[in-house]
């Protein structure tokens, strides 16, 4: 594999790289809150719904990024309403998103079978070739807005994701922030689909976060570190994809998974070495406190 930077003189490569780098920065900025809220799979759910959005784009001959944005944001609103106002549990609502999204997408692309369905593949796994400059600027604008919003609201978002009950008693606008988190996730999914593809979008939300948190001790460092890691992983993935002529979603995610495995192995090694000098010893002279489980 040769990393020949001359491929960057092609305009399509510049477009692909810019969108991937923006997405690499903004996806972990949202993903860190989803991981904290233990909602890591929501990105996948919205990615599946986005397939329906893409199909609506084909059917109506509009730019799929706009129909996808509209569909995922609408799905995010419905999700949140279901979660907060009915007895439907979060994972049931999520399951409905998965099934409904894929089924709707397949059904609608079936109807629109004569209208450019051939490039559906490029939405599922990403593509270097398809985006025009107008779309790239939409991706840059959307991605930047998401990243800036998440950076500014970091302490509030982190508070509602860590302990929603406390956040409510503290008087924070929990419902609004929850909704905002879902909407920014929907925007992220929509702007990421060209770079990583709908089926792999969730990986870019989650992998950079879980990779850097092997080493970080603060939320702030985790968020910034994850954005940096996402930037590097997405950039490297696009370059590798161009060199080998494979969909960029696959290379980005494989590089991310490899980074995670390497970091996890390193972290466990470091922890083993450190175990001999732990920083927080349990308070001294304390009784052994065990509560034995009764009757199993």
């Amino acid at each position: 594999m040769n990393f020949d930077l001359s491929i960057l003189q092609y305009e399509f490569m510049q477009r692909a790289l810019i969108s991937a780098l923006v997405v690499g920065l903004c996806a972990p900025a949202v993903g860190v809150f989803l991981v904290q809220k233990r909602l890591a799979l929501i990105g996948d759910g919205l990615g599946h719904i986005a397939l329906t959005g893409v199909a609506i784009g084909f059917l109506t001959s509009t730019e799929p990024i706009w129909t996808t944005l509209a569909t995922t944001v609408a799905a995010a609103l419905v999700m949140e309403l279901l979660r907060s106002h009915s007895k439907t549990s979060g994972d049931v609502a999520l399951a409905m998103l998965f099934y409904g999204g894929i089924a709707g997408g397949v059904y609608l692309t079936g109807i629109a079978s004569d209208k450019g369905v051939a490039n559906l593949h490029s939405y599922l796994f990403g593509s270097l070739l398809t985006a025009g400059w107008a779309e790239v600027w939409t991706i840059v604008a959307g991605g930047t807005a998401v990243a800036v919003l998440m950076l500014l609201l970091r302490p509030w978002m982190s508070a509602i994701c860590a302990d929603e009950q406390y956040a409510r008693v503290a008087g924070l606008p929990v419902a609004g922030l929850n909704l905002l988190l879902l909407i920014t996730t929907a925007v992220t999914v929509s702007v990421s689909m060209r770079a990583v593809g709908l089926l792999l979008v969730s990986a870019l939300l989650v992998i950079p976060v879980v990779t850097v948190q092997q080493f970080t001790g603060s939320f702030r460092a985790t968020m910034f570190g994850a954005m940096g890691a996402g930037f590097v992983i997405a950039g490297a993935g696009v370059m590798a994809s161009a060199v080998q002529d494979v969909p960029p979603g696959a290379t980005i995610v494989l590089i991310g998974v490899a980074a995670f495995i390497v970091c996890a192995a390193l972290a466990s090694l470091v922890h083993r070495l450190r175990r001999t000098r732990r920083r927080h010893l349990p308070p001294e002279g304390e009784p052994l406190e065990v509560e034995l489980p009764v009757g199993g």
Binding site: Q36, L152, C161, P282, E286, L288, E289
Partner: protein, 273 residues
């Protein structure tokens, strides 16, 4: 004007009344322990007071305002029933305590000096000043509990509502808690404490309200520890039947915390003291 007032408060879960017509008043600067066995409804009552569960009937007022219309939540410091301070992503003790200042800040604006000062002071009050930059998941269970108490203090509350802050925590944390409560009472803050045992706090409590089966059965003098429980050196053991031998208190052994299962009786919840 009481800081907390409930009149005939009733809370039901799925049609079953858990709290039935409770009248409770906590005056400014007063300290009240809310006691009772498991399932007596004391935690549910507190959740209704702070608005986490809806009341099916009766009135709940905070600072003289009906709780539904109450918006000045930064006057309330709340310590939820113990869940641990750690979440899915690492966070430092100072970051968790900083959540207590968010109600004082405009959305999206950076922390001001007063906010950082309040965080530092709160961590110092619970004896964790030197752990401010440590990740909370590396702290012991008792230290995490103190982080949550510091978060409630950071908002500079006029009333501190604590839901079982002493269950299963170490002696150091219980002492720290008693000192914190005493210091805040001296500063004029009211305290409502849900607890099984009042331990080191006995002398500072003005009243104890005891619930049984969702009703108030006692409102007055806090109960005094009797017999061997009164001995300050007394170590609580867990007297429930167990196939294994009773564990010996051992300062050097690792602390095991199995959390609290819902089916345990009151006796199981007497943590070390």
């Amino acid at each position: 004007m009481p800081v907390i007032a409930t009149r005939g408060a009733t809370v039901s879960y799925g049609g079953r009344a858990v709290v039935r017509g409770v009248d409770l008043a906590v005056e400014a600067g007063e300290s009240v322990a809310l006691m009772g066995a498991n399932g007596s409804g004391k935690s549910t009552l507190v959740k209704a007071i702070v608005g986490l569960v809806p009341a099916a009937g009766g009135d709940i007022e905070l600072f003289g305002t009906a709780q539904r219309r109450f918006r000045d939540w930064k006057r309330v410091g709340y310590v939820p029933q113990r869940t641990g301070a750690a979440s899915g992503v690492p966070a430092t003790a100072a970051e968790v305590v900083g959540q207590g200042r968010l109600a004082h800040r405009f959305l999206g604006m950076p922390a001001r000096r007063g906010d950082r000062e309040a965080v530092r002071r709160s961590l110092e009050e619970v004896g964790l000043a030197e752990h401010a930059r440590c990740a909370v998941d590396t702290l012991s269970g008792g230290q995490q509990q103190r982080v949550l108490i510091a978060r409630a203090l950071a908002t500079d509350p006029d009333v501190l509502i604590m839901d079982e802050p002493t269950v299963g925590v170490d002696a150091e944390t219980q002492t720290a808690l008693a000192e914190v409560v005493a210091a805040r009472l001296d500063a004029g803050c009211a305290v409502l404490l849900v607890t099984h045992e009042i331990g080191p706090l006995t002398d500072r409590l003005d009243r104890a309200v005891v619930l049984a089966d969702g009703r108030v059965v006692h409102d007055g003098e806090p109960p005094r520890p009797v017999g061997e429980h009164a001995d300050p050196r007394h170590q609580h053991m867990h007297p429930h039947p167990s196939p294994d031998s009773v564990p010996e208190p051992d300062g050097t052994a690792p602390r095991l915390d199995f959390g609290r299962s819902s089916g345990t009786s009151e006796a199981d919840l007497w943590g070390g003291e």
